[in-house]
């Protein structure tokens, strides 16, 4: 009977458990959870702030998931060292755990750039875990003034959640536009307008130079007083376990399509890894929940002796703020086609007759059709229609594809 160890208890870990169990119903699975919760849906923490969900609903799987899948979960446990030679793992308690196969799904940690006097700021929060959210929610009052550093996905989602509690929210970012990781400046302005219409205040291309008590002194000299500070600048992969054991790493743990690291019997999945974006063939950290699951699931199947590759990862995002939805996928380069309407923007990026990326803001109906075209690199020429003014649908595909998917069982 194989002994599987999964370090981490997030989306990738759950995918890994399901992957293992798909092949091996019997092997022993041990899950190490740093947080004291069963796996929950991490992106929901902003919805938790606005009471759209609660910790019970946030559970990623049924309460009986671990039991049903025969997993032992060790809560409040971190691993400190991995020895691929002896196939043992050292825990923070000092205990060791031996394994046959191990999956490192340790995720990421908030990255906070150095800011003067930051350490003395009271009511300072990160926004990555349920515990972060719980603490934040407890601290924020309707009268609280909130300063969020970072106008990326996490910062803005946090802002949206907090908006249900307080109107006084300012978001600052060093970048000159919001959501700089997924939008260009023009589209960002469109979104920013919507955010501002919902009472968020922005100070961009600007960052905190230093803190003076509960006031942030900005680089441009502005002073922003606040009661609550949230740092949401970015994250870094938790790669230590593998890197310290001599495993290959780039900006995160290097894995192949089977989610194997360079170390024998050591797999890695989720936000702690980097992989190839097929839309531009570059190696990236694609810290996205769907990717995390797929990677974990792929790792699990391979760990249990099955055969599975995950070779069509693309960066993609579906996110909405105050009712405005946007979806992005792939890269923003190549030949661009645009359709701008009063309340929507659509941008498509093509290269070599293939769709390599898109941005949809406002009208996101059936966006999965584009994702599929992108992910499966379907030549645009072979499509029966690719009219960017039209909503995508099954009619976008050629007849053969339609017949196959509508008249038979699909994967």
């Amino acid at each position: 009977m194989s002994r599987y160890v999964i370090v981490g208890n997030g989306t990738a870990a759950i995918g890994c458990v399901e992957g293992i169990r798909f092949v091996d119903p019997l092997g022993k699975i041990t899950v190490l959870s740093k947080e004291n919760h069963p796996a929950y849906c991490r992106p929901l923490i902003s919805y938790f702030l606005e009471d759209k969900t609660d910790p019970k609903k946030m559970l990623y799987r049924a309460e009986t998931f671990y039991e049903d899948n025969g997993c032992e979960v060790l809560y409040n446990v971190s691993a400190t060292a991995l020895d691929p030679e002896t196939k043992t793992l050292t825990l923070d308690s000092g205990d060791t755990l031996s394994y046959d196969k191990i999956c490192v799904a340790t995720g990421s940690s908030p990255f906070v750039p150095p800011m003067e006097n930051l350490e003395n700021v009271k009511n300072r929060f990160s926004f990555l875990t349920l515990d972060d959210a719980k603490a934040l929610k407890k601290a924020v009052k309707p009268s609280s003034r909130v300063l969020i550093i970072g106008a990326g996905l996490i910062g803005l989602k946090c802002a949206e959640g907090l908006r249900a509690i307080t109107k006084n929210i300012t978001v600052c970012d060093l970048a000159d536009h919001v959501l700089s990781s997924i939008l260009d400046a023009k589209d960002a302005a469109f979104v920013q307008k919507h955010l501002e219409a919902n009472d968020l205040k922005f100070t961009l291309h600007n960052s905190v130079a230093k803190f003076k008590g509960n006031t942030a002194i900005m680089q441009n000299g502005d002073e922003i007083p606040f009661d609550i500070l949230v740092t949401a600048v970015g994250v870094r992969a938790n790669w230590g376990l593998v890197k310290d054991a001599g495993g290959a790493c780039g900006r995160a743990i290097t894995v192949n399509e089977k989610m194997e690291t360079s170390l024998e019997d050591v797999y890695a999945a989720g936000d702690c890894t980097e992989s190839t974006d097929i839309s531009d063939s570059l190696i990236k950290v694609m810290a996205l929940m769907p990717n995390a699951y797929m990677q974990g699931y792929t790792a699990g199947i391979n760990m249990a002796g099955g055969e599975k590759v995950f070779d069509n990862a693309i960066p993609m995002n579906s996110i909405g703020f105050f009712g405005l939805h946007m979806m992005t996928a792939g890269s923003r380069k190549g030949q661009m086609k645009t359709d701008i309407q009063k309340d929507s923007i659509k941008r498509f990026y093509k290269e070599d007759g293939k769709l390599i990326g898109f941005v949809l803001i406002g009208d996101v109906q059936n966006a999965g059709v584009y994702t599929n075209i992108l992910r499966n690199q379907i030549p645009i020429k072979s499509l029966s229609e690719f009219n960017i003014k039209k909503s995508p649908s099954m009619a976008t595909y050629d007849e053969e594809f339609r017949r196959k998917t509508l008249e038979s069982v699909v994967k």
Partner: protein, 145 residues
């Protein structure tokens, strides 16, 4: 497991499936009461172009991307049927971003709604199938290719 299959050759584009679906999932005893004067949010949609029409609803993939991508755990499989727990859905629409078929839509509540093969209502045979006048939508057991 029986699934809904669509033969575009026989789709008349009458859109009856949409209305039958919306009615079946309304929980109301009369179609008039359920649908008159309101926007409808059916779980099946007639797509098409100038020359062809066909109804699209969830394919209930054996390895569903939407379930894997769901950030809230709302999408899940029950005996092969991809179901959504509306209680858990926060309306992030990631599922819509990944579904290659456009089978999911956002309804009036802001959350996602989708075909559950009428397993959660009292129809028995899916309403779209029962109501299709030309057998363009069928409910059958077919093997995976």
């Amino acid at each position: 497991m029986k699934r809904v299959f669509v033969k575009e050759e026989w789709c008349l584009g009458c859109h009856l499936c949409e209305y039958n679906c919306a009615y079946a999932n309304s929980g109301l005893s009369s179609m008039v009461k359920a649908l008159q004067g309101k926007p409808i949010f059916p779980r099946i949609h007639v797509n098409g172009n100038d020359s062809v029409t066909f109804a699209v609803s969830c394919r209930h993939c054996t390895d569903p991307l939407c379930v894997k991508s769901c950030i809230s755990g709302a999408l899940h499989r029950e005996n092969g049927v991809v179901c959504i727990d509306k209680n858990k859905c926060v309306g992030c629409l990631t599922c819509m971003l990944v579904c290659p078929y456009g089978a999911l839509v956002q309804d009036e509540t802001g959350t996602v709604t989708k075909c559950e093969l009428c397993t959660k209502n009292s129809c028995g045979t899916p309403a779209c199938v029962a109501g299709c006048p030309n057998n363009a939508i069928v409910f059958e057991e077919r093997c995976e290719e």
